[in-house]
Symmetry: C2
Amino acid sequence: MLLFFFLVTLLGATTAQAGGFDYPVITNQIHLLRPKLGAGGSFIDGVSCLSWRFGVETNNIIDWKTVPEECEDYVGNYMLGDQYRNDSQVVTREAFRYAKSLNLTNDGKNVWVFDIDETTLSNLPYYAKHGFGAEPYNETSYDEWVAEEKAPALPESLKLYKKLRSFGIKIVFLTGRKENTRTATENNLKSVGYQTWEQLILKPSEYSGTSVEYKSGERKKLEEEGGYRIVGNMGDQWSDLLGTNPGIRTFKLPDPMYYIS
Amino acid sequence: MLLFFFLVTLLGATTAQAGGFDYPVITNQIHLLRPKLGAGGSFIDGVSCLSWRFGVETNNIIDWKTVPEECEDYVGNYMLGDQYRNDSQVVTREAFRYAKSLNLTNDGKNVWVFDIDETTLSNLPYYAKHGFGAEPYNETSYDEWVAEEKAPALPESLKLYKKLRSFGIKIVFLTGRKENTRTATENNLKSVGYQTWEQLILKPSEYSGTSVEYKSGERKKLEEEGGYRIVGNMGDQWSDLLGTNPGIRTFKLPDPMYYIS
């Protein structure tokens, strides 16, 4: 609201000083820009969509089914704009600095756990056609998208992946994608630059627990049975990072499009 | 950057259509507005201060000593503006909804753990005079401020406190403030509306561990020795919410001014 106020003030002052006033043009332009304004743009139930995003990213707002309709434009503009890239970069840069600072025992047991969707691969081309999370999840159309093997890499994560490998850290992909998508997922990962990995863990088709339970269990197996050391763990959902055996440090990438418990 | 670009585009279009152009005036106004622009305003080391704040609030950026100098204006404008209030409101509103939904056993053992600084009491009057976290922490001047007993309540938390009490949930304050500030802290809490509580736990002067260790240990005692049920836990630092016995649900309030591990 503050920002919107300043924008209007600034516009008013400028046109006045320029000796003219073209109200309909300004109003129309402000209307077009509204979704891009963040805090000043869209409101839902008394709070700005920027605050809603803060609530989501900090795990305060949980168990939500879809992006609030009023925030669809806000989320779309965020996801397609510089801010999403910039926010992602902050996270992967911190991860890089952390990984670089580690004094690792070179026993081949250091692993980094990456989630896949919205972490290593981006489904933005799909979600851009489906309301950026404002439409209810449709398993059929989503599965079709996965089968196309066309998800681009998240550029920041791909860069981090390469750096981690250069440090001798092995990569484990731990995803909620189901076992029957293994070939498509492997093809997609490889085609965008994730050439190799230690393990690719997909969810058994019959698994019925939460993502936190599933991922905790798999990480526990990695550490207790596999003898691995999870030095880092990165995902876009808090359910990637909470629970047991989370890893020495965890990193939360932005994702205001959906929530997985 | 995106926002700044649109602002400039909009201004250009408007002045052109209004038939005039007053570059120095616009430049000066944009300069004055810069700190208020968030994503478009201040940059540090290649990322916007809004992204830095995202990194801090999501616990990706840890162990930092001071707000980056380049982000002092951004953080100041955030803290004094609507966005901080709005972000806080999102958190306490979710907490209220959660607490209201609970089907509690009425045995007097349900407690809500509140941190104090930047959670129930606000030290914004102090930090506004000390660079909003951009100045290094000064224990002497901070202790003087605490002794004045003049910290206002965070309005959103005070409202929540009253609602929780009306639900029969008891209040436990668990703070990093030291035992020797007990009287000042009690006076301050009472004078701004926190009339009563089940326990006020202050840190022993000689304690040398981290905040996570201290707070985990105290919450463990509450549950295991006191027989309490921590139904909710709210703080502005992740160290209030991580570790053992975190509570059934945790709530993270915004605080881009300082970091406590």
